[in-house]
C-alpha cells in the first residue's frame, strides 16, 4: 500500500518545495544580503566620518600655519601648508596624492578598509572640497562655514540570495561632511593659566586659576567655569603655589554645571564650589585658549589714519564734544623750526563737568592739531578706527565725567614709561560717578597693545599707523616709532571709587552693520589684549609654542629675557592685568592671553557684570563682592574642524 501511495504523490513535494524555494530565497536574501549590507554601510560610514574629519583637521592646521584670516582662506593647493579644493567635484582617491590635505582623507578611509578601487574593484572613495558651505549640509552657510570636505565611500555588495529575485548587485553608500566652522562656546569664565604660569603679584601666584583675597565674596557664572591648571595642595616651586582654586570657607563659586578642572587639579575648599567640580584628563580640547586658530584682530584701517595732537593730553569740557576717528597723542609744545608738535607720550585725559560730555563718533572732529596730508580719513565709516598713544584716563579730575563710545575699533597703543611702576596704565576709568555709555548696534572693540618690538613681531596693522604718527611729530619730542624703548602695554583698569559709576560697553557685533571684513571672525570681542604682552610663548594663531610642563623642570612656555623685551612686555608687570569695578553692563568677550590676570574689585556687595565672557589666566576676587555673570550674550567664535553632516 505504501508503495502505491508513493508512486502517485511523490513528486508533489518537489513542486511545492521549488515554489517555496523562491520565497525562501527572498527571505534569506532579506536576512543575509540586507544584513550584510547594513554591516558594510556601518563600515562605510565610519570610514567616511574618519576621512572627512582627517581632511578638515589637517585643513585647520594649514589654515592656522599660514595665519590667514579665517574669512579670506584660499585654495592655493600648492604645498604642505595650503588648502586643496576640487571645486566641489567628487574626485576619486586614486587621483589625490600628497601633499594635499585631502590625501589625509584617503589615508583614513584606507585605514578603515575603504580604498578607491579596493575590494576587487567594488569600492569607491571620492573626496569633494571647496571654500564656503557644502551644498548638502543643513544650516550651513558661507557665514559660518569657510571650507568643507565631503567624503563618499561606496561598496558594491554581490547578492548571494537576493540574486534569485534578479538583484545581482547591491550598492551601499555613505557620506560624511567635515568643515572648518565658526563655533561658539559660551563658558562665562575661562581661566587659562596652567601649572608653571606665574602671575607677578605680591606674592607671586603660580598655577592658580581662581583666588579670593578675602574670606568672602564669590562668582556666580551662568555659563559655567573652566579652569586650566592641574595644581593640587602640593606646593612646587615655580609651578604650583598650591590649589588651582584658593579661597576661604565663606567664599563661593557657583555655576549651573560642575566646574571643570584640567587633569587632576583640586580646589582648597571643595564644599564652596557648587555643584562641585569635575576633573578631566588631557591637556587639550576645552583647556586650550579658545581663540586658538585666530590670529590677533588686525587694525581695521589699511592706510594710516589722520593724527590728532591734544595739547597736554587734556580734553576737558562742559559742553557736548564729539571726537572723530583719529590717531590721538599728547604734545606739550610746538617745535617752531620743524613746525610740528613735540609729542610728550602722556595719556589722553578726558574729564567733563556740568552738562558736558565726550562722544566718540564717526562724524566727530579733532579738538587739536590734525594732520592734513598723507593719511586716509576714517570719518564717515560705519565702524572706524580710533588710536590712542600713551593711554587714556577717564574721570581722573572730574567725578562725574560722561563718555559715550560709538561703534568702532579703539586701539590703545601702550603707555610710555621707563621704569616698572604702578602707573603703567593704558586705559583707566576713575571717579565716583563716571558714566560710560555706548551707541550704535555694531559695538566696540578695545585693543590693548604696544608698538612693534625690535624683532618685528608687531601687532597686525599697527606699524603703518605708528610710523605715520612719527612722521607727523617733531624729532625733539618723545618718539613714536618701532624702535623707541619705553613703550609698554601697561594695565587696564575700570576702577571707579563707587558703585554709582557705571560702565556700559558692548562687544563687536558683526551683524550690526558696516563692520570690516577683516574683523568678521571676531564677533563678540570687547577687550582684546595683545598676546605679545604675556610671558607665555604664543604663536601667531593663538596656540602655545611650548611643550607641556614637566614636573620639577623649567617651563618651556615662558619667553626668554630678550623675547620679553622685544615683545614690549611691561617691566615688573609681566603678567598683563585688568581690573573691573563699579556698576558694569559689559556684553561680549574680554580676552586676555594665558599668563594674564583679571581682578574683580567691587566695591559693592554685589557686582552684576552682564553677559561678559571672561578669558584670562587667573581670576581674582579682591573684595567680598558677589560677582554675577549672566549667560554670555556674544561668546567668542572658535574656529574648529568638525563633522557637519
Amino acid at each position: 500500500m505504501m508503495y502505491e501511495r508513493s508512486r502517485r504523490q511523490g513528486g508533489q513535494a518537489i513542486v511545492l518545495f521549488t515554489v517555496a524555494l523562491m520565497a525562501m530565497m527572498g527571505m534569506l536574501g532579506l536576512a543575509v544580503d540586507l544584513g550584510w549590507s547594513f554591516f558594510v554601510e556601518k563600515q562605510a560610514q565610519a570610514a567616511a566620518d574618519g576621512a572627512a574629519m582627517a581632511a578638515v583637521k589637517e585643513g585647520l592646521r594649514r589654515a592656522s600655519a599660514t595665519s590667514t584670516p579665517f574669512n579670506s582662506l584660499t585654495c592655493n593647493g600648492g604645498g604642505v601648508n595650503q588648502l586643496y579644493c576640487t571645486n566641489g567635484n567628487p574626485t576619486p582617491c586614486s587621483s589625490i596624492s600628497s601633499p594635499s590635505n585631502l590625501y589625509a582623507a584617503c589615508k583614513y578611509a584606507e585605514a578603515n578598509g575603504f580604498t578607491s578601487g579596493g575590494s576587487s574593484g567594488r569600492q569607491t572613495v571620492t573626496v569633494a572640497a571647496n571654500l564656503g558651505a557644502p551644498p548638502t549640509g543643513e544650516g550651513l552657510s558661507a557665514n559660518n562655514v569657510k571650507y568643507w570636505v565631503t567624503v563618499r565611500a561606496t561598496q558594491t555588495v554581490p547578492q548571494l540570495f537576493s540574486a534569485v529575485l534578479g538583484n545581482s548587485q547591491g550598492l551601499v553608500a555613505s557620506r560624511a561632511s567635515g568643515a572648518l566652522v565658526a563655533a561658539t562656546a559660551p563658558v562665562s569664565l575661562y581661566a587659562l593659566n596652567r601649572e608653571g604660569d606665574c602671575v607677578d603679584r605680591d606674592p607671586v601666584d603660580c598655577g592658580i586659576n581662581i583666588k579670593f583675597e578675602q574670606n568672602g565674596g564669590g562668582f556666580n557664572a551662568a555659563g559655567g567655569i573652566v579652569l586650566g591648571s592641574n595644581c593640587t595642595s602640593v606646593v612646587i616651586a615655580n609651578q604650583c603655589t598650591g590649589y588651582t582654586g584658593r579661597g576661604g570657607t565663606n567664599t563661593s563659586v557657583t555655576a549651573p554645571t560642575p566646574i571643570v578642572i584640567r587633569g587632576g587639579g583640586t580646589v582648597q575648599n571643595p564644599s564652596t564650589y557648587h555643584p562641585g567640580t569635575v576633573s578631566t584628563g588631557g591637556g587639550g580640547g576645552l583647556f586650550y585658549d579658545p581663540t586658538r586658530g585666530l590670529p590677533q584682530p588686525p587694525i581695521a584701517a589699511g592706510a594710516p589714519i589722520p593724527t590728532c595732537g591734544i595739547q597736554n593730553g587734556t580734553i576737558s569740557t562742559s559742553s557736548a564734544l564729539v571726537l572723530g576717528p583719529f590717531n590721538y597723542y599728547a604734545y606739550s609744545t610746538t617745535n617752531s623750526q620743524q613746525n610740528k608738535p613735540n609729542a610728550s607720550g602722556a595719556e589722553i585725559k578726558i574729564d567733563t563737568s556740568g552738562n558736558g560730555s565726550v562722544t566718540f563718533a564717526t562724524n566727530g572732529t579733532c579738538p587739536g592739531i590734525l594732520s592734513s596730508t598723507g593719511a586716509t580719513s576714517q570719518v564717515g565709516n560705519a565702524f572706524p578706527v580710533y588710536l590712542f598713544h600713551g593711554g587714556m584716563n577717564i574721570g581722573g579730575s572730574s567725578s562725574s565725567t560722561r563718555v559715550t563710545f560709538g561703534p568702532g575699533q579703539y586701539v590703545f597703543d601702550g603707555n610710555y614709561h621707563t621704569s616698572s611702576d604702578e602707573n603703567a596704565k593704558s586705559f583707566v576709568v576713575n571717579g565716583s560717578s563716571t558714566q560710560i555709555t555706548t551707541s550704535g548696534a555694531a559695538g566696540q572693540m578695545f585693543i590693548f597693545t604696544a608698538p612693534t618690538g625690535s624683532n618685528n613681531t608687531g601687532y597686525p596693522g599697527l606699524d603703518a599707523q605708528v610710523n605715520y604718527l612719527s612722521s607727523q611729530t617733531a624729532t625733539t619730542g618723545v618718539r613714536f616709532d618701532t624702535t623707541t624703548a619705553g613703550w609698554y602695554q601697561g594695565k587696564h583698569q575700570i576702577q571707579p571709587s563707587s558703585m554709582n559709576a557705571s560702565t556700559t560697553l558692548n562687544g563687536l557685533n558683526t551683524s550690526g552693520g558696516g563692520v570690516p571684513d577683516s574683523l568678521q571672525p571676531y564677533n563678540g570681542v570687547l577687550f582684546w589684549q595683545d598676546r605679545r604682552n604675556t610671558k607665555i610663548k604664543y604663536t601667531s594663531d593663538g596656540t602655545y609654542n611650548c611643550a607641556p610642563y614637566v614636573t620639577g623642570g623649567s617651563s618651556t612656555c615662558v619667553k626668554t629675557t630678550s623675547e620679553i623685551a622685544a615683545d614690549r612686555v611691561t617691566p615688573g608687570l609681566q603678567s598683563p592685568e585688568m581690573e573691573l569695578g563699579g556698576t558694569l553692563h559689559l556684553n561680549g568677550v574680554s580676552y586676555q592671553p594665558r599668563g594674564a590676570w583679571v581682578e574683580f574689585q567691587g566695591p559693592g556687595a554685589t557686582m552684576n557684570v552682564g553677559g561678559l565672557q571672561v578669558l584670562s589666566g587667573t581670576i581674582y576676587s579682591e573684595a567680598t563682592t558677589m560677582v554675577n555673570l549672566s549667560l554670555p550674550t556674544n561668546p567668542i567664535t572658535q574656529i574648529s574642524a568638525s563633522l557637519v553632516e
Binding site: 557665514n143 559660518n144 568643515a179 563655533a183 554645571t257 563678540g524 567664535t637 574648529s640 557637519v644
Partner: protein, 195 residues
Amino acid sequence: MMILNRKYSHQYPHQVAEAGRRPLLSRRGQSIIEFVFVGIPMLFVLISIFEMSRGMWMYGTLAHAARRGVRFASVHGINCVPNPPGVTNDCTKTIAQIATEIRNAGVGLDPAITTVNFTVLVGTGQAATSTCTLSNCPGTIWPPSTNNANQVGQRISISLVTPFRSGLAMFWPGSSPTTFGLINLPASSTDSIHY
C-alpha cells in the same frame, strides 16, 4: 534503519519477511514515534534559530537607529546656524525631528511601542533629559539651550527600548504555554556635539 528496511522491503519483501521480521503493516506507527523523538526537538531548534535571529535583528536595527539619531543630533548643535553669528538659530532640531530620523533608520521597529530617552551629559552630571514614545515625540528643541546643553563637546545620549515578543518563551520550562514572552530590548548610543 527505517529507510534501509523499507527499501529492502520493496525489493525483497519476502526475504525480509522470511528473515523473521514483523510484517511491514505493523510498523506504520514507527515514523510517528520517531517524529516525536526527532521532529519536536528539531522544530524547537528551528524556531529557536528563527526567534533568536529575529531578536538579534531587532536589536541590530535598534542599535543602528539609536546611532543614526545621535549622529543626526550631534551635527545640529548650537552652531548649526545658516545666519551670521548672533542671529537667531533656525537650524535647531526638535525631539520629534530626531525621532523621525530614528524611525527612518529603524525599519521594522513599531514606533507606537518603542520608547526613546534623550539625555545630555555634562561632566558627570545630567544637563537635560526627555522621554517619549517614538511615534509621539514632542516638538521641543533638542538639545536645549538650558544648562548649556547644546554646547559643542557636551555628550548626547539616546536610549531606545522596544518590546520583543517571542514565541520561544512558550517552550521555556515552567512558563505559561499560551502567551508570548516579552523581552524589552534596550540600545543606546552616545556622541559629543560636533558643532
